[in-house]
Symmetry: C2
Subunit: 413 residues, 2 copies
């Protein structure tokens, strides 16, 4: 099933707003077997909206619109479509009551200009909006079908997911586009490709895309135009094969956060953790404490930015002078001192040169040392990360989470 | 001057990629007096690309395209446009040499399939691409003009800014759409509106938009269809008037980061700072250390997540038992202990309930106490922030930066 998307808003064309709705709609509809074949964005201008919808209807007969359903003068999309389908607008008292009640719940008095939001083109299906004031509309007529959704992202996403996708999925012949993401980290894209290449032939008919980010490389498997059940089973089986060759480097699926994966692994083993951060300056702690319930596992730590604070934590002047703060010896001492001071089972220390200044031939910008301390001893690893200051720091925080997770898992095995 | 934007890519329609290029182009072109009146997105399909470009040319005679200039089979946009303008493709040896050298610099051998990237429609202007392999193209013919840019964001933005905008700006009659953002924080949107309302009539012909985010409320002033010099002077003068009524709450312009503003203010006064974070768990330190050169000012701090670490820092058992960790007494003790322990001029402590659990009637989720310690004494403030766990934490980190900045400034005044 093919359809077109028309997104309406002067702010979209001027670039004041990034059209994230369009990406959300593309994925959700493709997964249900409905493919957006063209997307058009026009300003809040009745003639432009009318042209875009009319042309899209002529091509596919099915158009989804976002935006232009609010109460202001600019929001004229509904009138344009009613006019295009030659349908009169009818006032729905029950919509007006619901709207009035919604305003009352928020402690606001409804204004007369909201009255237009309770008007519906004759015969249209009203899609109830639990997330805001303007209901969605499904209008059918001689020229085809227009599904109108508000532009506010939370309202648009709620209505699309709960009202539009189920209705369209019930109609599609069965061919869907679905994808599944296997998240990897701790291995560069080129080495990842080497490990996956032997498998690539066996993945057909799925396609495989490499999506590098600061958190690692996501592997996106996509099933194109397959029956829903066959697509899901092919995706699951391919993901299992990928995980088989990737081992620990495959830490999750979809939008899994490595910090949550680490917290779960530590909680299952009753392991507590602490951190000592220099170049990441708190990013590692922030990643961990972003996860609800992280207090079961995370005790806290130290942001030892100045060398004075590294000494205060317990790193000897001798080590700092002989090897510098970015060294194997310093991060080992930091991790050990952190573990003892804060009484955690495991500690990680991070010290590096995030740039833009401070690099040298021996220790270029991007050099980061990681120290690890646990009951069974102390260790360290060194990496040189590419990118800007903020990218180097984000990669270092992600690597620290990864290394902690690998160590916590193997100890419990 | 009106033009249309055609963005090309199957990934865009499927929603695997969010079209951030489109927003960037909209702002940059409007500021130069060229208005995008329609945006069309189509798949990597020659017939769809041809239709979209041909229709856009018929409407405006000037079309900007992004995407479809790479070396793979999918990337056929250049051939489509050459065909549409009935221009033969010509091989440019100097482009091939530059491409070969670029690959060599990255330690890679060029492949024969890249040869097509050195082909140019007869008579087209080549826009040199310093950021990647595919040059931009400016093609003129009987049907109008097509400007083709690659889809990779850094390449598209570089070419648009350095090659396209100057050429179009030289042609425009002078009417531009430009905007200027005044960043505010520490004041809710409704109070902000009260303070700005008296001014609103004097802002004409500029429009004013309120853009709330986790960092505060940005006020965007926009000049519509004005002469460039008049637009800039009206924007500057209106921004000055806004700053006049907003005082400290207006901390910057454009994309200024409050952490950088704080670092600059402290550096100018030779003030050092330290942090003690509970609910923000490192976010505050991460915000500060994201700024290059923050080590001039920031000494570090403690992530005192567990109460055991608050005691270790120097908060007495008595205070924690009598008032709890989220209290005026605790944050004052945390700030004071932090300042003394880490030897900083100023310290801030943050302790709150980020949720989703842990709230009570007396201290609901979102309650955050901030403690401040300096040579002239100790103080505290309490806020209840709305939102999810991550939103509450981000708002708390921003407020801590704001309160530190206000205190650092007034001490130096």
């Amino acid at each position: 099933m093919n359809l077109e998307l028309v997104t309406i808003g002067t702010e979209l064309l001027l670039g004041f707003t990034v059209d994230t709705n369009a990406a959300f709609a593309g994925q959700a509809l493709a997964a249900a077997g409905a493919r957006i074949v063209r997307r058009t964005t026009v300003a809040d201008d009745p003639a432009a909206v009318r042209d875009a919808i009319s042309e899209a209807l002529a091509r596919t007969g099915l158009v989804l619109t976002t935006g232009g359903l609010g109460p202001t003068r600019d929001d004229l999309s509904k009138n344009v479509v009613a006019d295009l389908f030659e349908l009169p607008l009818e006032f729905h008292p029950e919509l007006w009551t619901a709207l009035t009640e919604r305003f009352a719940r928020m402690g606001r008095k409804i204004s007369g200009r909201n009255r237009c939001q309770a008007e519906v083109p004759h015969g249209a299906t009203v899609l109830p909006n639990r997330w805001g004031t303007a209901p969605g509309l499904w209008i059918t007529g001689g020229r085809g079908e227009v599904i109108m959704l508000p532009g506010v992202p939370i309202e648009m996403r709620g209505l699309l997911t709960h009202e539009v996708v189920p209705r369209l999925a019930a109609r599609t012949a069965g061919a869907v586009v679905r994808s599944l993401v296997v998240r990897t980290t701790g291995v560069p894209e080129s080495s990842l490709a080497d490990r996956v290449s032997a498998l690539e032939d066996t993945l057909a008919p799925l396609s495989l895309a490499y999506l590098p980010s600061l958190e690692g490389v996501d592997l996106r498997l996509t099933a194109w135009n397959m029956e829903p059940a066959a697509a899901d089973s092919a995706l699951q089986s391919a993901a299992d094969r990928l995980r088989g060759v990737l081992g620990n480097n495959a830490y999750g699926a979809g939008e899994d956060d490595l910090a949550a994966v680490l917290i779960d692994a530590c909680r299952a083993r009753s392991t507590t953790i602490a951190v000592a951060e220099s170049c990441t300056g708190g990013m590692l702690g922030a990643r961990i404490t972003a996860i609800p319930g992280s207090s079961d596992v995370f005790v806290g730590g130290a942001i030892v930015y100045a060398n004075r604070l590294k000494r205060d934590l317990g790193v000897s002047e001798r080590i700092l002078e002989a090897h510098g703060a970015v060294s194997e010896e310093s991060v080992k001492a930091m991790a050990q001192a952190c573990r003892e001071r804060f009484g955690a089972d495991r500690a990680v220390a991070v010290s590096g040169i995030a740039g833009p200044g401070g690099g040298s031939e021996e220790k270029p910008v991007g050099t980061v040392w990681f120290g690890f301390a646990a009951a069974d001893g102390v260790g360290a690893e060194r990496y040189v990360f590419p990118g800007t200051r903020q990218e180097i720091r984000a990669r270092a925080a992600q690597f620290a989470l990864f290394a902690l997770w690998c160590r916590a898992k193997s100890a419990g095995a």
